[in-house]
Amino acid sequence: MSALNTGRTAVPTQTGVGAAVRTRLRGRRRDTGAIWRGLFFASAIFLVISIAAILVMVGRQAAALFTQVRPLAFLFGRVWAPEHGLYGALPFLVGSLAATGLALLIGVPLGLAGAIYLAKLATPRAQRVMRPAIELLAGIPSVVYGWVGLTALVPFIRRHSGHVTGFGLLAAGVVLAVMVLPTFISLAEDALRAVPQDIEHGSLALGTTRWQTIAHVLIPAAWPGIAAAGILSMARAIGETMAVQMVLGNSPVIPAGLIVPASTLTSEIVLEMGSTPQGSPANNALFAMGLLLLLISLGLIIAVRATRKEATAGVRQAH
């Protein structure tokens, strides 16, 4: 320390010029620091601006529709016939909800089993196979899911059901179920792993079997996290577009069954967005459907946040 000090005083630059240069350099350093700080902050604010801009721009086009069509006639109208001035979006809403429900019905049990296997049963070697496999499932582009659905699943359903085409909600539900697996499994596995081990050990020490502990202790304790995984899978499924559009058959009516052509909000938007003139009621109606999707997604995010709060409160209570 003292050596440093002597070194410092030995340098004869404490002249006016040297000091001025040094202060200026230091000033500049602080200025660039402030600029960087400003840029970091601006980047973060850009996210807020983006979501606000999406809400405003999509909302504005939707509002233009609602000057011509009553919102309730849009939301609950059963007939979609833009050429006759009828903009009922109920067929698409029903299609979206049915496809999503079916996807969860198939995907959640399968995904929960996968998560339990990964978190509690798999050997390290099996994990080394399963984990990359699930990442690959997440990485497959949705058009490729759609293409496999169209060329393999739809013909399969046609052959085994006796229906004319095989298109419809069943095909969409199965494809979506596979597509939500990665989201659901990774989140549910995290939730299962987050359960404190003492609880599990306590249960096993009471003489329960491995499965009794999993079913009666682990899953109830991890429930808020598993519910959050389900809600996020729902958000993923309801917003999925390409794969669904390719296997649905695209008929804008409330489907009478699972193996008849149907439509969803997303599939109708992607089909019509390029072919309807901007500003026309038919085009604005697509934005109104987009707004509906946006509000559903935001609602689901808020629901996830609520379950997450519950989860942290639960863990705190457990301790």
């Binding site: 602080r30 980047s43 999406i54 496999a133 497959i140 582009p141 938007i269 999707l293 997604s297 995010i301």
Partner: protein, 284 residues
Amino acid sequence: MSAKRIDQIARWTVTAAAGLILLVLGYILGSVLINGLPVLSWHFLTSRSSNLEPGGGISMQIFNTIYIVTLSMLIAVPIGLGAGVYLAEYARPGRLTSLIRLATESLASVPSIVFGLFGMIVFANAAGLGFSRLGGAATLAILNLPLIVRVSEEAIRAVPADLRHASLALGATKEQTIFSAVLPAAVGRLATGVTLAAGRALGESAVLIATAGMSSPRYLTFDPLASGETLAVHLWAVNAENSLSDAARIANGTAAFLILAMLAVSLGIGWFARRLDRRLAGQG
């Protein structure tokens, strides 16, 4: 039935479900590659697509995909990294920070087709770009931002505090510390995250149909204002338009190419991750 028997059956069922998941993945990859690999000739990869005659290739789509993904990452990475740095290094708990986090989570949940609507109205219509690679890339960048922000923040938070303290103790400013100590230490994880985001951009299509468009310029050009149909959009469009007698052949080839590209990205991520592990092991 005894508890032991139930335990056995339940374990067997869960393991079978895991096996089924592997089987589904194997079927998808296998069927796409078996149908598509024979299509991937040199001619298919290097010739232009045609809307009228069979025998077209995917050269322009490959070029457009690389172009748009690169451009979108050039836009998204600086902004996402900046926001990640802000959230990890500066943000204090409070209203503003929770607003930024809520915005990030909300943005991550927006369906990609809604980004497509947004990009169409903002870039193609209001900005007057029409169908353009720039508009497509910009929309894709916004779609990818939340993912990049999340991986950046996690990468920066994973850097040990000692490193920061050492740098600050040497008299470096906070920003000098970030640029010369924190970010270099986080580069492995950042690279993994950016590769992941690029992989996602590679397969995205709903965003691009009405922003980058479903056609390619007549000649090879780097013009960002030209339209640019990507591979994923092409796979959809040849089916939707269904004007070609060999649409199925082209779709099979395009799907196989996309899967190969995805596998390459996954291998890249694995490689980064292994390098990172080795480096961390060396440090420990």
